[in-house]
């Protein structure tokens, strides 16, 4: 019965969407960004985990690019900090109230969002997800990085760089949200499974704050004189480790730093050898795919349930490769 209802809703949504799309074409196919009068445009509301981080800015960029190609309007909203679960839910509620054609959502908390998914369902608004999903079954597709796999890839490179044995530590950015947890766990599990001679001596969290992460990394280096490497699970954490290395005056390579995400500072650190390399996701791709998935649903098609947007190891050697350069952002 549930499925039947879902189909009916989808069909209705698609019908509406098609007629609206027709209108907009008739209007001369102007740029979707300029939705002054608005009627006739398809609107997709994206509620992200944040917007201050470079990562989310890149997602936004990808979403806007694809929206322009498809001739739809996207709105992009997100709380000021990735701890503001409640604020994010309010934004989701506001998005539902505005009755867009579809919603794209990246959940800060997988449980808290369930009731709102139900109200979106009864309002007939389809939801697609990106980066991190909600535990509700109503979410119809998710575009994200396989964070466990990405963490494992970081572990492989760390192990290779330090020669398969020694002490390493993790500067995490969150012990709560799924990317933070999975990037950490993917790393730890891979180490335990494949590299018995490597010991993870400490894991601490700096909330992605550069300053806090730097102070944490410095204490780690202090506490563990034999430390071979530190893994930073996001941009802020990784740059914190880089700053710590700089402040302690360590020679490049004395401590192996593996990072996550890109951004100018990480790219610089890799160029000058302080950071060995980093895992990059494809945030632009995430943005593009989530908009595409929403668009597909509106048009009655069924996108894949999980769209893996991919992750890559990048270092000094492959940074300028076309494939890598395309997913890096400053």
């Amino acid at each position: 019965m549930k499925t039947g209802k879902k189909v009916a809703v989808l069909a209705a949504a698609a019908a509406v969407a098609l007629s609206l799309a027709g209108c907009s074409n008739g209007g001369g196919g102007g740029a979707a960004e300029e939705s002054g009068s608005g009627d006739g445009d398809i609107t997709i509301a994206l509620v992200s985990k944040g917007f201050q981080h470079q990562f989310w800015q890149a997602v936004k960029q990808g979403a806007e690019q694809r929206a322009e190609e498809l001739g739809v309007t996207v709105t992009f909203d997100g709380p000021a900090a990735e701890t503001e679960i409640d604020g994010q839910l309010q934004m989701l509620q506001a998005a539902i109230d505005k009755k867009p054609d579809a919603i794209g959502f990246a959940a800060l908390d997988p449980e808290a969002c369930i009731p709102l998914y139900e109200s979106a369902e009864s309002a007939g608004i389809p939801i697609v997800e990106f980066d991190a999903g909600c535990s509700s079954e109503y979410g119809q597709s998710i575009a994200k990085t396989d964070s466990m796999g990405a963490g494992a890839l970081a572990a492989d490179h760390m192990a290779e760089l330090i020669g398969g044995k020694g002490e390493v530590a993790i500067v995490g950015h969150s012990q709560i949200n799924s990317t933070g947890v999975e990037r950490r766990d993917g790393f730890i599990e891979q180490m335990e499974a494949e590299y018995p001679d490597i010991e993870i001596v400490d894991t601490q969290y700096g909330d992605g704050d550069h300053l806090k992460s730097a102070d944490i990394a410095k204490t780690m280096i202090q506490a563990h004189p034999d430390l071979k490497g530190i893994y930073g699970t996001n941009e802020g954490s990784a740059i914190g480790v880089v700053n710590a290395v700089g402040e302690l005056g360590l020679e490049p390579g004395e401590l192996t730093v593996v990072g996550f995400d890109s951004g100018k500072a990480q790219i610089d650190a890799i160029t000058n050898g302080i950071m060995a390399g980093a895992i990059t996701q494809n945030p632009i791709g995430i943005g593009e795919e989530v908009v595409q998935a929403a668009y597909d649903i509106i048009n009655g098609e069924t996108p894949e349930e999980v769209i893996d947007t991919g992750y890559y190891w990048f270092d000094k050697d492959n940074m300028d490769d076309e494939e890598i350069a395309a997913v890096l952002y400053e």
């Binding site: 944040g50 000021a80 601490q204 730097a214 506490a223 100018k264």
Partner: protein
């Protein structure tokens, strides 16, 4: 049937505090909170030195001092505000805005280093001035006025930076403001913290500005009736706090070699915590710069030590919270004793 002697002799039984004789005792009591804080600091250092071999080394101490710099500078400025009985919640994001503006001046506008730094300081002072005007002239409660400023600064930092970090890599010498070593082995950020602490100490203890800061916190109306322009001085207090915020902004930008527009929220609470641990009363009228410096050091020694011992991040917060409770509790205990 004339005079009634009892009438005039017996006054206010009960509530009259028994008089404390001599200055020595009162001096001691004034120093109690400070010496308690100082004692706590020493005990912490000894404890962590025993608990971990890696704690007591010059390079770790230098790390602790550097980690104290930003919060410490914020705490210095906010000590003045708290002594007046006010509060400044805008110092965290205000610091971020000052950092971003420094970036705009130095990177986008390519102004000379000194001009850009002064611009960053001025940004902080300007925010403080606006806080002061809102509080002293428009009579907004400090909590509300600075809460609003906290949000405004956060928003402006994001808007002005275009939600992107500003990197100072092209600005010659900027990073040395925080990480250079005029004194070998000691990062300049620490030097700045100590110099500012000395300035703050002189301001608070030796100038009429400091005197009126205490007076306003002790009894604002009485101060006003004494012919002191309390409005002007209150504005000055918040402006000074803003100026220190500006210093913190420049220092954090120099240390990270970039202005990160998304950080800053929560720094104000850490700074306020440092001030309170240092024995400054949230009710106003009482406090010291020495106490604030010690309070900030206690916070960073505690966090550093717990990290060195690989205590989980979650538990670190619990411990810091408990320390704040103990600090405030000893303070109220002291207050209670001085009343009865």
């Amino acid at each position: 049937m004339n005079a009634t002697p009892v009438t005039e002799q017996s006054t206010r039984p009960g509530v009259t505090p028994p008089e404390k004789q001599g200055t020595a005792l009162s001096f001691l009591r004034a120093k109690l909170q400070q010496s308690l804080a100082f004692g706590t600091l020493i005990v912490l250092v000894i404890f962590f030195s025993i608990a971990s071999n890696n704690f007591f080394s010059w390079s770790n101490i230098s790390s602790i001092l550097l980690a104290t710099a930003v919060i410490g500078i914020l705490a210095l400025g906010t000590t003045f505000v708290i002594i007046t009985g006010g509060i400044d919640l805008s110092i965290g994001t205000g610091m971020t805005l000052a950092a971003v503006m420094t970036g705009i001046f130095l990177v986008n506008m390519e102004l000379p280093l000194i001009v850009g730094v002064l611009g960053g300081l001025a940004t902080g002072a300007l925010m403080g001035l606006i806080n002061g005007l809102n509080i002293a002239v428009l009579k907004l409660p400090p909590f509300i006025a600075t809460l609003a400023m906290m949000m405004i600064a956060q928003g402006l930092a994001l808007v002005i930076s275009g939600v992107r970090p500003i990197y100072f890599s092209g600005v010659e010498g900027f990073k040395t403001i925080a990480l250079g070593t005029l004194i070998p082995g000691l990062p300049n950020a620490v030097l700045i913290l100590f110099l500012l602490a000395i300035v703050a100490y002189l301001l608070l203890s030796k100038t009429i500005f400091g005197r009126y800061t205490f007076a306003i916190g002790s009894n604002e109306e009485a101060t006003r009736l004494s012919g002191v322009n309390t409005r002007k001085w209150l504005i000055t207090v918040y402006t000074v706090a803003g100026l220190f915020t500006g210093f913190a902004g420049v220092v954090i930008a120099a240390r990270l070699d970039s202005a990160q527009p998304q950080i800053g929220v929560g720094y104000e609470l850490q700074a306020i915590a440092a001030v309170i641990i240092g024995g400054t009363s949230l009710l106003g009228g009482r406090g010291s710069i020495m106490g604030t410096v010690i309070g900030a050091l206690i916070m960073s020694v505690l966090i550093n030590g717990l990290r060195i011992m690989s205590i989980q991040t979650e538990w670190q917060n619990v411990v810091v919270g408990v320390v704040i409770l103990i600090a405030v509790f000893t303070d109220t205990l002291r207050q209670r004793r001085s009343i009865t």
